[in-house]
Every structure is written in C-alpha cells, then in structure tokens.
C-alpha cells in the first residue's frame, strides 16, 4: 500500500477515533463527577444512548428561525472533525491533511463553530438563548486572546506553530523540557482555558438545569431530534479534541504511533484514550473542589490565565 493511501487511512482512523470515543469520554467525566459527589450517576454509555435516542426523534424547528438554526449543528459537528486532521491525535508525524493549517487555524475552526452556535441561539426568539449566547460571547472574547497567548508562547518555545513540530520539540528536549517553567505555565493556562471554553465549573455548571444561570448550555435548548444529537455529539468531540491537544501536544507527547500500521494505530489510540481519561479525572477533581464563580468574576479567572501566559512569555525572554 503506497504511503499516501496509508496516511489517508490514518486520517480516517483519527476521525473514527474522535467520533466513536468522544461520547464515551464525556460519559466517563459525567459519571466520575456524580460518583465523586456521592451519587450513583449515569452509565458511562449514557451519552451514546442520548445521541441514539435524539437521532430517532422527530425534529421540531421554530417557524421564526432561519437557515442559521439548521446550519449551526452541522458546523458544530464538523469543525472538531476538521481540527482533528490538523493535530497529532494518533501519529507523531503529519498526515495527509496536516498541511492545511497550524494551531491558529485550529483555533479559527473552533471559534467559527462557537460563532454559528451563538448566532443560532439568538435566532429562535427563545428568551434564554440570547442571554446564554451573549454570556458565551463574553467568556469567548476574554478567552480568545488568552488562547492566542498560549499558542504564541508555545510557538515561541518550540519555534513553530505547527502542532506536530511543537510536539517533536518537547520529545527532543527530553525531561528537562517538561520542567521548563514556560512549558508548565502554558499547560496551566491551557487547562484554565479548557475549563472556561467548555463551560465547566467554576465558569459554568455543566449539570445545571436552571436556564437563567446557564452560559454554554442554553445555546442548545431549542434543539430537538437530529439537531440536538449533532450539537451533543459535537460538544463531546470538542471537549475530547481540546483534551487531545492538551495531552498530546503539551503534556505527554509520548505513546503516539511513529508509523502507519493497524497495530501501531490501535496501540496509539489506546494510549491517547488513557491519557484523555487521566486528564478528565484531574478535571473532575478540580471541578469537585471549586464553587461556581459569579458571572462578573469570570474576568478574574481568565485574567489569571492571561497573566500566567504573560509570565511564560516573559520568562522565555528573560531567562532563555
């Protein structure tokens, strides 16, 4: 089999990996949090069941909504799949589509999904949609500069914005690079960003059911049937994708396949999933130990991430 076809197959494997395991990762996180709170919690397969049930249900759309409302779930579903082609999800070397963009492009794709979801939330006339959407934008405009700072600090350390090269740099420098303060600070800032961007505690409560207090989750209130299923699946994939970027590019760039064979990819997939679950355990414990912040204190949370990033950059300038 020629190398180009093999790489293409590996790309398909990345897509299948994200599509099939993202609901499981989200289910594990949900169950873990409930267990930590002393509750029994849903099955870890609950997210699969939800998605299957929603696909079977009839979709109802408000007569006041426009094409945006139908379009947003597709975008939210497809963008994580685009981005997973750009980042080292399973292999250490770039695959066929990796030439399409670097980390800035990945950030753009995810921001695009967020943009359309916010527009769609305002589209229906549901009173809670615009509130959640504008709050989401508020968090978003605070988070995005910090995302840029994280990308630039990482690029500055690794001299590249291509995630594959960043990841190679960490491996090449060995253990000393994991203790490198810039590296550690960027990891801390990125974790804070995942928490903010994924609407987890302390920024937002993912299991809350009060519409008035929602940030991220009120955007999908109006969806039913297929649209709701795509939204749910898309958000599970986005969480898994950000986690993959964190663990594979920043924290532990080991355990990835260095060649395209079925066995190597399977081993890599298992390793990456173990790493993702390990991070989700950390996330669950962090979420457990914090209280939700008031809306106007989110600036402080994201501001701390920003200053940490600034530290990382400045340290690089001063002490390198």
């Amino acid at each position: 089999m020629p190398a180009s076809i093999a790489n293409l197959m590996a790309n398909v494997a990345q897509l299948i990996f994200l599509l099939t395991l993202a609901p499981l990762a989200e289910g594990v996180l949900a169950t873990l949090e409930e267990r930590l709170q002393g509750k029994h919690g849903p099955s870890i397969l609950q997210v699969y069941r939800d998605i299957a049930k929603l696909f079977a249900k009839e979709e109802r759309v408000s007569v006041r909504s426009t094409w945006l409302f139908r379009f947003a779930p597709v975008i939210a579903f497809v963008m994580p799949l685009f981005v997973v082609l750009l980042v080292p999800a399973l292999t250490t070397f770039p695959l066929t589509f990796a030439f399409m963009g670097d980390m800035v492009a990945a950030g753009f794709f995810l921001a695009l999904a967020g943009f359309f979801t916010a527009l769609a939330a305002m589209d229906t006339g549901n009173p809670y949609g615009p509130i959640g959407a504008s709050r989401g934008r508020m968090v978003g405009f605070l988070v995005e500069p910090v995302f840029m700072m994280v990308f630039f600090s990482v690029s500055y350390v690794a001299n590249s914005t291509i995630p594959y090269i960043v990841n190679q740099q960490w491996i090449a420098h060995g253990w000393a690079s994991f203790l490198d303060p810039t590296h550690v600070l960027v990891i801390v800032a990125f974790v804070l960003l995942i928490v903010a961007d994924e609407s987890r505690i302390p920024v937002d409560s993912p299991s809350g059911h009060t519409e008035i207090a929602m940030i991220g989750h009120s955007k999908t209130l109006e969806y039913s049937g297929r649209g709701a299923a795509l939204m749910k699946w898309g958000s599970a994939m986005k969480l898994m994708l950000l986690t993959i970027i964190l663990v594979n590019v920043l924290v532990v760039p080991y355990g990835l396949a260095d060649r395209v064979t079925v066995a190597a990819l399977a081993v890599a997939a298992a390793w990456v999933f173990v790493k993702v679950i390990a991070f989700l355990v950390v996330l669950a414990v962090v979420e457990m130990s914090l209280a939700k912040l008031r809306l106007f204190r989110i600036t402080e949370f994201v501001g701390a991430a920003f200053v940490i990033c600034l530290f990382a950059m400045a340290l690089r300038v001063v002490a390198a």
């Binding site: 253990w175 940490i308 530290f311 001063v318």
Partner: protein
Amino acid sequence: MSHVSQLSATLSAADSLLTVLVGLAALGLVISRQMAALLRLFMAQSILLAGSATVLAVGLPSEHLYFFAATTIGTKVVLIPLVLRAVATREIYAEREIDQVLSIPLALLVAAVLAIVAWTLVRPLAVDLGDSTLVLHVSVGAVVLLFGAFTVAVRREAVAQLFGLLVMENGALLAGIALVPNLNAIVEVGVAIDVPVIALVVGLLIRTIHEEIGSTRVGYLRELKDG
C-alpha cells in the same frame, strides 16, 4: 566556591520550575479574595522556596542551602502558623473576603505590569549574572518582592498586609539563595528568628486593632480619634 552554573540540565529545569511556582504563589496572594487562603498560599510558597533551595543544595552541592531549606520549613511552615494561631486565630482564619482598593481585574493588570517592570529592571543585569538559573532567581525574586509590596500598598487589610511583608521577604531570599549559596550561617539564623518575630508582632498588632475597632480593615483608619 560553588556557583549555580554547575547545575545539570534536569536540576536546573527543576529549580526553574520551583522558582516560577514561587512567583505564581505570589500572584495568588495578589488576586486572592479569601482571608483563609492567604496563609495557605504563603505556606505553599515557603515550601516551594525550600524545594528550590534543596535542588540548588543537591546540585552545587552546598550544605548551607540544606540548612536554609530546613529553617525555611521550620519557621515559615511550622512556626509562623503556630504563632499566628496563638495570637490572632479569629483574624487570620476568618472565613471572609478581603477589602481592597483596586478591583481584582485591575490588580491583575497591575501585577502584569509589575512583572514586566521587574523583568525589565533585571534584564540589563542578565549579562553580568550570566547563568540563566541565576537570572531567573533574581528576576522572579524581584517580581515576588514587588507583588508583596503591592499587596501591602493596596490591601486595606492588616492580615493581607502581614502576608505581603512575609512574601516580600520570601522574594528577597529567592534571589539570595542563588546569588549567595554559601551565605553565612549567622545571617540565616538571624533571618530565621526575625520572621516569626515579625509575625508575632504584627499578629499582636492585628489582634489589638481588631479588639479596638472590631475590624482589621486598616484602610479605613484615616483619622485620629480623641479620647
């Protein structure tokens, strides 16, 4: 004479990490709202400082720094909390939020500016200092010093000001252990005794203020009271 440029790559990286975490703990002090968190942050920072000293002690090697690490743990992690618990339990362990002159987002921005100022000041010294570990210690030490001073200046709260003072001292020591690894034991003993005494004196002061005016919000004490 031992010098920090003798460190191996891994030890140097471990030391940088601990040094930077000392800086982050100082940032935590600037932005924390909870009274009870201040003492915990200070203790965490002292443990990190002792860790950094231990890494330097292993790398150089320097027995003075082992002694320094031990006294830091002994005084700042054990003795100071005991002293403060003895003299000002109600004030230090209060579960309430701290008043401040600046809002937290503004304080964050000022902290960022202070960090840049400190690093700009240290940058010209970098050539003379030479080694990157040394530069890092001096620059983060300067940042911690400024953050401590900032806390003393903008917090209208005696307890936070006490920790600002103590954190300033940690910052000075952070720079000191890298600049002068073989500090005279007399100096170290002096510092080790000084710090709990500062905590005792300020702790007593805080308690007296609390007893006299029913609050530790010293920022509101602007006018003298007659009789």
